[in-house]
Amino acid sequence: MKRWAYIGFTLLLLIAFSCTTLYAMGRRRRKGTRLTFWHSMSIYQGDALERLVTEYNDSQDNVNVDLVFQGLYGEMKTKLIQAVQSGNEPDIAQVAIEYLDIYIQGGNIEPITERISEEDRSDILSQFWSGVTRGREVYAFPFNLSVQVLYYNKDAFREIGLDPDKPPKTWDDVITYGIQLTKDFDNNGVVDQWGVLISLEGVFGFTPLIRQMGGEFLNQDRTKALFNSEAGVKVMELVQDLAHTHRIMPSNWTLFEGASAFLEGKIVMGPITCAGIKFAEENLPWDMGIAPLPYIENKSVLLGGAGLVIFSRSSRRQKAAFDFISWLTQKENCIRWHKATGYLPLRKSAIESYELQGFHRLNPNYRVPVDQLPYARPPDFTPYLPQIDQIIRYAIEDIMINKKDPQIILDLAAEKTNEILNREEER
């Protein structure tokens, strides 16, 4: 009797597992057009995207979208270039707006301008269209777009008697606050808590600060570097001062080191993409505040992120892909995506909706990046931005770590940049 009971228990256990797995697999088997969608959303952003795609697949029988994670934007770029060369490109790919020019110049994608309805054109904010438009043509549908905001540790503010609801507004305020917040708790000569960390990730960290200083990164024709102007030098002097004069910022930390330190509460303030708000709110062990990016002379933030690009060649697949993209970016899904990640809501109708206004009332951190939209601009696009980005990274390293003269280093970087821009122009 007992033996049969144990055999029965084991069998039922196996059946319970098998039924759940088979049922889940069965639901994935579908008919209709199958589209492959390569994306770069990791962990919780990926989960949010998967939920939306699953819902789309469940909502109709004509199109089934297979979501494939292809690494972050850099890795995605390498894989996409290989894929278009070998003719194995996906139907849809999430392409960082700064890499879009690579595929336009390579003739790998076609404009989607004519597919865009008047309603979408007017409802989606012009800043977002500017990120995916080259000349008069639109090459991608805006999707996950973000700006930088200032994350700060409210607990650290409270500990030294600063009002946690009054974050710094300007970079001068950041210096004042940072001096008070940088601490060597055990007096061993090693800083335990840094006031601020600016991750000057090449072009993307540098550009908004130059614009805030009244300068530009490249000229309008994209034939000349302007970042070695007085504005660019002043920005570099500012960050040098943060690290070496005021000693409120570590000078040689990698992005990974910075992120880990921030997580552990060893950095009090730092500009980070708004796409991390959801993650930070749910995972940081300290009370987090979000404030607008501090400004120097002008308010300016860089619009970053990605658009959805259709790589399909057949018109039937292009239409199916566009239908899916339209669904994914409709008002309700814009709001859900914003709530689930922190990425900006694309549509005026979403921003004005009572649903989102209600959400922002309960979650004011999410409202901050939306308020920055009036002064958000994408980077100065050129197909050679990845190469220029590398040049800028080396230059920043020389200025920050080796304490070299900003003017000399930026002039050298500008010379190399101009060579690339003009050499490519001649071609």
């Binding site: 940081l284 009572y354 209600g358």
Partner: protein
């Protein structure tokens, strides 16, 4: 003359103020409900704090939408709630409440299989729970035990708003104590707030040894209170704790006329602490403390709850146990959680046994189960545990 000045001033003030008031006024013409295939529309409407036909200002509409959403989310019946606003041709507001309902029917296998003191033991059952019966948020639960016990266990928990009521019927044969058990349960509870529930259950049970015509009828009164949030409503909440306390008192009435009635009493408590430490890693500590006295029927005996030990083999009048769980979401696939645990405590009466058990659990948050729990524990023996969480 002075009167004319006053009238003109009043008129000017009114003409300045009136457009401002009119601009801000929102006439809510209609509320539509969408997406409810199981839940009754009147249940959803009863949880909305906005009224059709009323005039609101923008601030108030947004506040009421937030309150209504929270009311709906707290029922636990919906995956998501969305308020869509549109204006009709006459500029009146039409709100559409779009709900996505959860899966309501769960069924599966639950129980444990263990090996201790060179003996196998087991308690297994098939269960089915159906949430939102009649579309009003009620719960029906049916369990068919088929190893340690054989029979049927059923519960119905009605949840109309703040008032909860419960009825239950158990008919089973208890293999361990070799007795038949029939039990009737009736209960009533009231949610004074999200954090405070007060209620009482009455059990009437009959235990009769299989080889005997004797039986004992027991009546038990269980008042209870819960203090603290029942569950975590948002991942932004980093700490959530609650206390559950139920003293009880009972009387046993034997069937033989020459035997006297006996009494028993006791108290069960559970204090639960939960901390989201970092990156959604949650540490939970549950402290159970129980005490009982008198002629306690087998049905209500305090037994061990240390995973990895044979529960029925470790009983007594006292129990104090500490159940520690560490919940690690799998970094790349957060529907799977790894949950190592360590349990320790004591149970006994004149002689108290100290027990220790630990192991690892796999919690799988499928679309159909919330979650599916599989555990392997080692304590006084080895145990494989399948749990149902709902």
């Amino acid at each position: 003359m002075r009167g004319t000045h006053a009238a003109v001033t009043l008129f000017l003030l009114l003409s300045l103020l009136t457009p401002a008031i009119a601009d801000d006024a929102i006439h809510l013409d209609r509320i539509d409900i969408e997406g409810n295939s199981v839940t009754r529309e009147d249940l959803i409407r009863s949880l909305l704090t906005l009224q059709e036909g009323q005039v609101y200002d923008l601030d108030r509409v947004i506040d009421e939408i937030n309150t209504s959403r929270q009311n709906l989310e707290k029922t636990g019946l919906f995956v998501s709630v969305f308020f869509n606003d549109e204006l009709d041709d006459e500029n009146n507001l039409v709100l559409t409440v779009q709900v996505r309902e959860k899966n309501y029917l769960h069924f599966g296998l639950a129980g444990y299989l263990g090996y201790e003191d060179k003996k196998f033991y087991s308690a297994t059952s098939l269960y089915l729970d159906y949430t939102n019966v009649h579309g009003n948020g009620s719960l029906f639960y049916l369990e068919v035990p088929f190893y340690r016990d054989y029979g049927v266990i059923s519960r119905y928990i009605g949840n109309p708003g703040r008032l909860q009521y419960k009825v239950g019927l158990d008919v089973r044969y208890d293999y361990f104590y070799d007795q038949n058990v029939q039990k009737l349960i009736a209960g009533l509870g009231y949610n004074f707030s999200e954090r405070f529930l007060l209620g009482a259950d009455i059990h009437s049970s009959r235990e009769s040894p299989r080889q005997s015509s004797d039986s004992t009828l027991s009546f038990v009164f269980f008042p209870y209170l819960r203090w603290g949030p029942y569950r975590r409503y948002t991942a932004k909440q980093k700490k959530w704790h609650n206390l559950f306390l139920t003293p009880y008192v009972g009387i046993n009435v034997p069937s033989e006329s020459d035997s006297d009635n006996t009494e028993f009493f006791g108290i069960d408590s559970r204090l639960s602490f939960n901390w989201d430490i970092l990156l959604q890693i949650v540490y939970s500590l549950n402290i159970y403390a129980s005490y009982q006295e008198g002629t306690v029927p087998n049905e209500y005996k305090v037994e061990s709850n240390i995973r990895g030990t044979y529960y029925d083999a470790h009983t007594g009048n006292y129990r104090l146990t500490f159940i520690n769980n560490f919940d690690f979401p799998w970094p790349t696939y957060n529907r799977i959680h790894l949950v190592p645990f360590i349990d320790y405590g004591m149970v006994g009466d004149d002689e108290v046994e100290f027990l220790l058990g630990g192991g690892i659990g796999l919690h799988w948050y499928t679309k159909y189960q919330d979650p599916f729990v599989f555990e392997v524990a080692y304590g006084s023996g080895l145990m494989i545990n399948l749990s149902k969480n709902f």
